[in-house]
Symmetry: C2
Subunit: 426 residues, 2 copies
């Protein structure tokens, strides 16, 4: 009966809730069949004699969750940042994404993205691919092989983008999506799921959105998209959908905004009271992408308000609006952006804390996948072992301090071992 049990030992840190960081120094994380049984300061008698993976003085944290990232944009991370969203899409994004029609190029590019995601602290991610069905499937094959838990979307866009990347009609976009979903089902992936991915309202006709709702219902798919990122974008949506009460309402009118469609909306920098209320009512997840919102001059989302309202909030790297897939760095950016928002925009909203960004990057975003992102009983065993010995210091540090340093200072060199859904990747 103990065959499927594994035990990890080390300094265990995880979030129970937004403000409750649990720390168990030199503790035991007991796992059974890929799920957490419990975290113990002293190993319970019943597990005596079982082998223990002893990570000594290292940190053991839940795997990080990237709730919003564009795989094809990884090739131009850290490039071409001197513009705002709509110009940036035309200049950087569309020309690069168009290259992914070529499967050889897609393979070469996605291999880099997948390898770097695998090496880092991220165990789960919600990923935009491109409009191309075959290269989206190729990306999914690669992610499956890497052992990461992901949801991946073939992008839909049938308007307001250059011919070379636009799908010819709503009909074509929908039928390609169905073909892609069928291909995915045929593959019987264990770790990789399809997610509907209309790029955003400006690039999808009403007809396409209606068809996507049909596909969503038929295949019971979750959904990811963008919302209220930039003032110019929001004004454009108002023009395109004069019948909508606000940007999020445009998705909601199509039945693609939470409720029976588990949904992630990236950014929400300019979500007003009504939009926030609707997201709360519909159970929409927000992917907060602080670095992207800085890099393409979008602004800073009112995350404090989202948290006070009890909305679901996770963190997204949003590569290549963000320059890095490192979610620790995204946590630092989330704190930093919230401080500038407090100072420059609204000092009634207190800056985010270490506990809060760690929660969002683990349990907050993890909830989109079910029980993921914590070490409470029943959670999936996504665990990352951090070795911080490279980052030397002259004084002694407590476990929480060491975690805070990881947020500001760590990179892939600190990732010592990694488990996803109970499987050890390295």
């Amino acid at each position: 009966m103990y065959e499927s049990i594994s035990i990890l030992k080390g300094n265990i840190v995880y979030s129970k809730s937004l403000n409750e960081l649990e720390i168990c120094e030199h503790g035991y994380l007991v796992c059974e069949a890929g799920k957490v049984k419990g975290v113990y300061r002293t190993l319970p008698f019943e597990y005596g004699g079982l082998p223990i993976e002893d990570y000594e003085n290292r940190l053991i944290i839940p795997g990080l969750v990237d709730l919003h990232v564009h795989a094809p944009q990884y090739s131009y991370r850290g490039l071409g940042m001197d513009m705002e969203l709509l110009e940036w899409l035309e200049t950087n994004t569309f020309p690069e994404e168009a290259k992914f029609k070529d499967l050889e190029y897609a393979k070469r590019a996605h291999e880099i993205f997948v390898e770097n995601l695998r090496k880092g602290a991220t165990t789960r991610a919600c990923i935009f691919a491109t409009v191309h069905r075959k290269s989206t499937l190729l990306l999914m094959d690669m992610l499956e092989k890497a052992g990461l838990e992901t949801m991946v979307g073939k992008v839909n866009m049938d308007r307001n983008c250059p011919d070379y990347i636009r799908e010819a009609s709503a009909e074509e976009s929908a039928s390609e999506t169905i073909e892609w979903v069928k291909d995915v089902l045929y593959k019987k992936y264990r770790h990789t799921r399809p997610i509907l991915t209309p790029r955003f309202i400006p690039s999808c006709t009403d007809e396409l959105m209606e068809k996507l709702k049909m596909i969503q219902m038929r295949y019971e798919l979750p959904l990811q998209s963008h919302l209220s990122e930039n003032p110019g974008e929001i004004a454009w949506v108002k023009d395109l959908c004069p019948w909508s009460e606000f940007y999020g309402d445009a998705y909601d009118k199509f039945g693609l905004f939470g409720v029976d469609t588990s949904s992630i909306m990236a950014h929400c920098v300019y979500s007003g009271e009504e939009e926030i209320a609707r997201m709360k009512e519909n159970g929409v997840f927000i992917a907060h992408c602080p670095e992207s919102n800085m890099n393409i001059s979008s602004g800073v989302a009112p995350v404090r308000t989202f948290l006070d309202e009890g909305l679901h909030v996770g963190i997204g790297s949003d590569v290549a609006g963000g320059s890095t897939e490192n979610i620790f760095t995204a946590m630092a950016h989330a704190i930093q952006a919230s401080k500038l928002r407090w100072r420059l925009q609204d000092n009634s909203l207190k800056p985010l804390t270490v506990e809060e960004v760690f929660y969002m990057a683990t349990k907050g975003g993890g909830a989109f996948f079910g029980k993921a992102g914590s070490f409470q009983p029943g959670y999936e065993v996504d665990a990352v072992i951090l070795d911080d010995s490279r980052l030397r210091h002259p004084q002694s540090l407590g476990v929480k301090e060491r975690l805070e340093r990881m947020i500001y200072l760590s990179d892939d060199r600190e990732i010592f071992a990694k488990y996803v859904s109970g499987n050890r990747l390295f």
Copy 2:
């Protein structure tokens, strides 16, 4: 006659002015006696036959200049960021800095700082030590040995800080400073210079400032301090120095604000028109420290205004207000902070560009050291060779694009070789 000539080959990038980035692909950097002779696309005939250090397709850039960093704070980089300046000083800074009275601790701590500075892209830095004369000297010994070009200051503070770190009187602070300067002169360092370092107005009595002016004149020392970082600090200075017209004027009244005292003022987040005009008139250097200004919620300095006015501006890591000594990262933060300032505070001030932050981090800050931070003829040969092959990409990239990626993505793994004042460090 050619004995002292060395030639580096690679993709050479440097700033001629704020908006002129010079790129010489597969070019030759010819150096004589530690100074730049010229950058050439084709090697001039007269240098034919001399040995060439061929760095192939790598980038060759001027060494980066860190115009403001606190060596003793390196031990708590990335820690305790949830507070503003004055509370942060009391809680984090003073207790840690007090430990540097113990030379054993100072040695252990400074060794980490110096080694990491040596490994990175920084070739020159202006550094705060602590109030302790002997551990300041120890730090200078270590920096000299590392081969970096630095100015280092024993900190002065005789008021408004805990007893355990406060110097007993203006008299004691001044006499310790003189002893320290004498020790430094006796050492005959080649790369390490003393710089007067009153912490900031709140921690120095008028009497001490007057004495420091005498010391400054007697030994012809440059000066570094802090200015207009935080609203609470500025209000305090107004209380402490009711006779001053504005914060910077308090320094100026003591003769410690540019003119015949080459001076760096860190931060200048809230410098108004009068202060900016005075800095311009007096030739004061500004150390812009964007990450620190985010982390301790100070705000964002109006760097665009400084540049438009033609002020001297360099970049500072301000560890441990900033979490990292990596000046590439500081450049990214400078761009990001300027974008949020544009969006949230004042859209008349355009965000900073790649060219501008690169200029500030090289030639802009380098000017404090004389002819440093560029590859124009006569400049000191501070050169950093960057190998960006770890940061894979599927498409071909130009040299300027590769430089932009270094700003967002590089760490010490990209530093392939380094020269300071013509000497190769590694």
